[in-house]
């Protein structure tokens, strides 16, 4: 990769975004990797085993044996056509989340830059942020009909606010001294934005993006549970209304997997993105 930035600027910018919080308490690094992995996984495995054993002879209509749930899950979601529900759910989630977080980050930056606009729109933005987004679902049905447009619209609407406010807060939390330094070094506004503001706000922006993702998943399911004809939420609720409890459990299991995979992907991407940020702070490593 070619370095296009002048090194002096890059180093100066890196110095500007030095951490403001002291590093947390150092953890004792007792034992090897194997031991650490073992400590992390034994409890989930024991709990799963407990669930398996305790539910094996279950006659409760609500809590079927785990073995039955897993078997049915395989039939429905791997062999059967429940996979189709997955496609429409994930498509809505991806489009809605990307649109919402992009709008959120852009307007968060704009509002940070233009303090007057921020002060004026503040009450409206907070109103929209704290307004429980699912409450808008019936309104979205009235506006967009019952198609997927309304689902994507509601998901992106909900995803905007956590990202927007965290972008704004992250940028406002930057120490004024750093801007003075940037000014003294005559960084252009664009350079200041990309070399100072965005990296310095990145950790909090990531927190906002993560919150947006969680809101998006909730809204994905909610939109599918009311007046929809496809999707995982529809699948689960449909199974519940006809009292197909095991089938309902397979839907829940799928949602759990989606939640975990989405979370895992986010953390993996965040680690990569912020690894650059952490590396840039380390001296003599550019």
């Amino acid at each position: 990769m070619t370095q296009t930035l002048p090194t002096v600027d890059a180093e100066a910018a890196a110095a500007l975004i030095a951490p403001t919080t002291p590093p947390g308490r150092r953890r004792r690094s007792g034992g090897g990797t194997a031991k650490r992995v073992l400590v992390a996984v034994w409890l989930p495995i024991v709990l799963l085993a407990l669930w398996w054993v305790l539910s094996a002879s279950s006659t409760s209509p609500f809590f079927p044996p785990l073995s039955k749930i897993l078997g049915e899950w395989w039939d429905q979601w791997i062999v059967g056509d429940a996979k189709g529900q997955l496609v429409s759910s994930l498509r809505n989630l991806v489009f809605g989340y990307l649109a919402g977080s992009l709008i959120g980050a852009t307007f968060g930056t704009l509002l940070w830059r233009f303090a007057a606009a921020r002060r004026v729109t503040n009450p409206i933005i907070y109103f929209l942020y704290v307004l429980p987004a699912p409450a808008l679902l019936p309104a979205m049905i009235a506006l967009f009909g019952i198609g997927e447009m309304r689902q994507i619209a509601l998901i992106s609407f909900g995803a905007i606010w956590p990202t927007l406010l965290n972008t704004l807060d992250g940028m406002r939390g930057i120490d004024q001294v750093k801007f003075d330094a940037a000014k003294a070094m005559r960084l252009s506004p664009t350079r200041t934005l990309f070399s100072l503001v965005l990296p310095a706000a990145a950790p909090q922006m990531a927190a906002g993006l993560r919150a947006s993702l969680q809101v998006s998943i909730i809204l994905m399911v909610v939109t599918e549970m009311v007046a929809a004809r496809e999707g995982i939420g529809y699948f689960i609720l449909q199974a519940q209304t006809v009292f197909a409890v095991t089938k309902m459990w397979t839907g829940i299991l799928t949602l759990v997997i989606i939640g975990m995979v989405a979370n895992f992907l986010f953390v993996a991407i965040e680690r990569r993105a912020l690894a650059w940020y952490h590396r840039s702070r380390a001296p003599g490593n550019s």
Partner: protein, 269 residues
């Protein structure tokens, strides 16, 4: 001069709200949206005014608030007790961390149909869903808060002979309080969302159910629907605002608050 500045800080946002309401009125009365898409502002405000006088309105607000409150209290108490217990034992913390992360990744709404099946469209159903959804992020905040405590503080407390419950309330909780306050504020918002969802999907009494009923009532009931949506938003503002003020008052010494205030003062110059 200070007084005019302060009044300006209040006037500008107030004016913005008025302008937004006027734009709403213009867009709907002017024909950008038809009546079956979006009701006019005046119709909605009138519907809200009518609703406020009825007992049904306050019943729905109270049942939403009740579930919000109970769910939040149950989850916070459990989170503080379990979180501090886990934070003080390294093995317990590392063992439980993966389980907590897994449960935190579960969208609470996934178990809603199951909870409806077991508990019905009741208050218990709402409270359970809220407490379940809010507990996992909260317990993580508590663990982080307790673990971020300065070891010297703990040693000092030990040396001074402060122990047991007293140390828990005088040393541990205050040390973890910035994390706890942030966690509670976020949890409050999630709890309100889950309350509305459990009413919308689960059919329990509350604002969410009234919104859906108004939507099912057809175009003539749309102003009522938006009146309840406005109510949900106002409820959110009041609850979140209360947590924000509390955080500012109690956490003024915390770093995150200091930087924001310093920048505000810089901008005010």
């Amino acid at each position: 001069m200070n007084a005019t500045r302060r009044s300006l800080r209040w006037l500008a946002p107030a004016a913005a709200v008025v302008v937004a309401l006027l734009l709403w009125q213009l867009a709907t009365a002017g024909g950008l949206f038809t009546r079956d898409q979006f009701p006019t502002m005046t119709d909605t405000v009138r519907a809200l005014g009518d609703a406020i006088g009825t007992e049904a309105y306050w019943d729905s607000v109270l049942s939403t608030l009740q579930a919000w409150f109970l769910g939040l209290v149950i989850a916070s108490v459990l989170a503080v007790v379990i979180g501090s217990a886990l934070a003080f034992n390294d093995f317990a913390y590392r063992s439980a961390a993966s389980v907590i992360e897994i449960f935190k990744a579960i969208p609470a709404i996934a178990i809603l149909p199951l909870v409806i099946l077991v508990l019905g469209s009741t208050l218990e159903m709402k409270v359970f869903l809220i407490a379940f959804g809010v507990f996992w992020p909260l317990v993580i905040q508590v663990i982080y808060g307790v673990r971020s405590m300065d070891p010297t503080v703990l040693d000092t407390a030990k040396a001074l002979g402060v122990g047991g419950l007293r140390r828990f309330f005088v040393v541990t909780i205050p040390s973890a309080s910035p994390y706890l306050a942030t966690g509670m504020r976020i949890a409050s918002a999630s709890a309100l969302i889950l309350a509305v969802v459990s009413e919308l999907v689960g059919g329990a009494a509350g604002i969410g159910r009234n919104i859906l009923r108004a939507q099912n009532g057809g175009v003539s009931a749309y102003p009522v629907m938006y009146a309840y949506i406005l109510t949900a938003g106002l409820l959110g503002i009041i609850l979140t605002g209360a947590f924000f003020l509390f955080e500012r008052k109690v956490m003024h010494w915390h770093e995150s608050q200091r930087n924001i205030r310093a920048n505000e003062q810089g901008a005010r110059k």
